[in-house]
Symmetry: C2
Subunit: 425 residues, 2 copies
């Protein structure tokens, strides 16, 4: 994409009321637009990042047998009254209508997905069923000050699973946990599966997935030796205690951000919404249900919090809006400008043909200093500068955003090889 065509521009300052790094950087770089506290629109570059995150999540959910659907977000109140959430969950929005029916917009979808699964799964042979969607969720939050990390509207992948036995659920729980950890790794984060309280959804222990970052709202203890990790809130141990799981490491305290959760919902929703199946003996049973959430917009925010520096965002290649930022630079001399532009145009075409996603800053008349600072703020993994100097040299300046390392590369093939490093090329 040519940057002269992109309708957004970078800005020197973020809106004054933005106090988090994620909202400040994403606003200034033109990835998001604030509509009100906790509600954002995703602009062209931001939507590209979000879609890449969604694709990583979608791939892993498909991989463990998930079937994607798109559930309604406008819900009738009836199932919410049956499960009790209409009155018990304080973040449920309530909508009045001209028909005098009451509606809500989904803050979660147990009330909708349980009857859908129940309509088709009549026998133990039809189970397990794993159903997921990627879409918008709505919560009537009193305060929303964390940028895109906690919203009144936010993007979420929510998967629901239904099982004929507790054992089958427990097995799938482990499979899903591994898929979650793979998702975070692909997003450039190191997450820990953390024991936590079940929250309003469940009375059992649940898993939260936590990324260690100074911007985190939670406190965790993690073992210096094994994978044990626990939310400080429910831990029975203290910092520096020996880990009771491995008896080797000690517990270390850290700030962390939640990037996903898994709940064992038991038979609560199946009972409230009358979903029964015939077991191997022909008897009616309620299935065991699980809920597996990942806030996709929140994940985008956590990536920015964890992976940025004093100049701007540093996207991991997997979710970057583009692979490469091609920047054409020249002085005021029109003839030289034309030479540089012609070469940059040629590279843009060749790189595009080689499968590289390129943002091409073709605004050669604008200040070089401003454009390079913009490039750092945008955080695309690689920058390729074409200038009078590089034309003389017969090679282009390729800079890695994360390390600031610069090298000179002379051919499209070398550029492509460097960018994809064998992982994609």
């Amino acid at each position: 994409m040519k940057q002269s065509h992109l309708f957004t521009k970078t800005q020197k300052f973020a809106p004054k009321d933005e106090i988090t790094k994620n909202a400040q950087l994403l606003s200034r770089a033109g990835y998001i637009h604030k509509e009100m506290a906790g509600v954002y629109s995703y602009l062209p570059l931001g939507l590209r990042v979000l879609k890449k995150i969604e694709d990583i999540v979608r791939h892993e959910m498909d991989n463990i047998g998930g079937q994607e659907i798109r559930m309604a977000t406008l819900h009738p109140s009836e199932p919410w009254k049956k499960t009790g959430a209409w009155n018990n969950v304080d973040v449920v929005f309530k909508i009045n209508s001209r028909t005098e029916k009451e509606y809500t917009v989904g803050q979660s979808e147990e009330e909708i997905v349980t009857p859908i699964a129940g309509e088709y799964a009549k026998s133990y042979k039809d189970l397990p069923v794993m159903i997921y969607q990627i879409g918008q969720k709505y919560r009537d939050e009193l305060r929303a000050k964390s940028g895109i990390m906690r919203g009144r509207e936010f993007g979420m992948k929510d998967m629901y699973s239904f099982h004929s036995t507790q054992e089958d659920f427990d097995n799938f729980y482990e499979v899903a946990k591994d898929a979650y950890l793979r998702i975070y790794t692909q997003c450039g984060l190191e997450a820990k599966a953390t024991e936590a309280a079940g929250g309003s959804f469940s009375e059992k222990i649940s898993y939260e997935f936590m990324v260690i970052t100074d911007a985190g709202e939670d406190d965790i203890f993690y073992c210096t030796s094994c994978s044990y990790c626990v939310n400080v809130e429910i831990s029975k141990q203290n910092e520096a205690d020996t880990c009771t799981r491995c008896n080797k490491g000690t517990l270390k305290r850290a700030k962390a951000s939640e990037v996903g959760n898994i709940f064992d919902l038991g038979t609560k929703y199946a009972k409230a919404l009358s979903f029964q199946f015939k077991d191997t003996e022909g008897k009616n049973q309620y299935p065991i249900m699980g809920c597996f959430g990942i806030g996709t917009t929140r994940l985008m925010g956590v990536i920015v919090e964890a992976l940025s520096d004093d100049k701007g965002i540093v996207w991991p290649a997997s979710v970057a809006p583009f692979d490469l930022h091609l920047v054409a630079i020249s002085g005021k001399d029109k003839e030289k400008q034309a030479l540089v532009s012609a070469k940059a145009d040629e590279l843009y075409t060749a790189l595009h043909k080689a499968g590289v996603e390129v943002l091409y800053d073709d605004r050669i008349d604008l200040s070089t200093g401003v454009r390079l600072a913009e490039s750092d703020l945008l955080g695309i993994p690689y920058r390729l500068v074409v200038s009078e100097k590089t034309l003389e040299k017969g090679a282009f300046e390729l800079t890695t955003r994360a390390t600031k390392d610069t090298e000179y590369v002379s051919t499209v093939q070398l550029i492509v090889g460097k960018i994809f490093k064998g992982s994609r090329y």
Copy 2:
């Protein structure tokens, strides 16, 4: 995808309150699930169709310079009050919150997109800007009885364009009109650009795009010779009159379904929401704004209304959930079943490898008659039967859903060639 894995099943009867063909067929085939009148969830097969429609629309919008974003659907009430829609538009939902702020869920997005465009477009050099999204819309309809053709929640592509001059708008209007007609052609429909009243959005004449179908809610006159078409509601002529545009054809009356619209919004929203730009002389001006809508879920419904027969849906290849329905058929003999299944498995793998999207009915134990009727109901463009008979013959039975023509094909290459007919292969 193996059909034994698909969690939905076809059903003999649609819900009793579904009176339209689109809702009856899509419910019975397991494409959609009704949550309440006018609100549906899209199940795995339905979501596959919807995504293909969205991709066709996305491609054409990108092609004419549209930039995709994802706008918030939860809106603060302030911009809606500024434009007057909060009190004047009866389908606007109103949401109360714990923070005592009033919200709505978008029934259209002029109130959100105008400030976004205005934040970046400060000069005539920044215009035109074309911004679109594909997402959910919400309307507080009193009645919703048309299945997925008119919903309280529905999918929509809405594009908004901003222009420095009326002439630039008029030119783009024609470009967008052509893109719209290409979209409908690709969806297997023949649509007509129809002059209509502006509705609540605009006082000017607007274009509606109409597909002639008996299920249509509108009446149109179309010329038998040229492309002239007009909604009967605003026509100054009568049936059988000579067309005043070409002076050759006569006007014919038909039932039609709206599948899109284009409005010239003038400067109404820019004025209400304070979006000004500097013109070539440095003076402040309000941009001319256009709104370009296509209901994606409605389009899916119209395709079903227009393209179905007494046995079920007949998807055009471009939006079908799968290219091919592979059906393995055998008697009760376990040895013969194993032979048929092995061959069908082999074909499934080979076709998948060749880029064919296959739904594989591997439920060889179930009734053949039921499964073939299900296959007709699902409406996948081609069906390939593998049975004891076809094994003997050394060729497989390939049936075209639309024409019911059957032929015998002996190799994967021939099957693939037939399905893609050179358009994709």
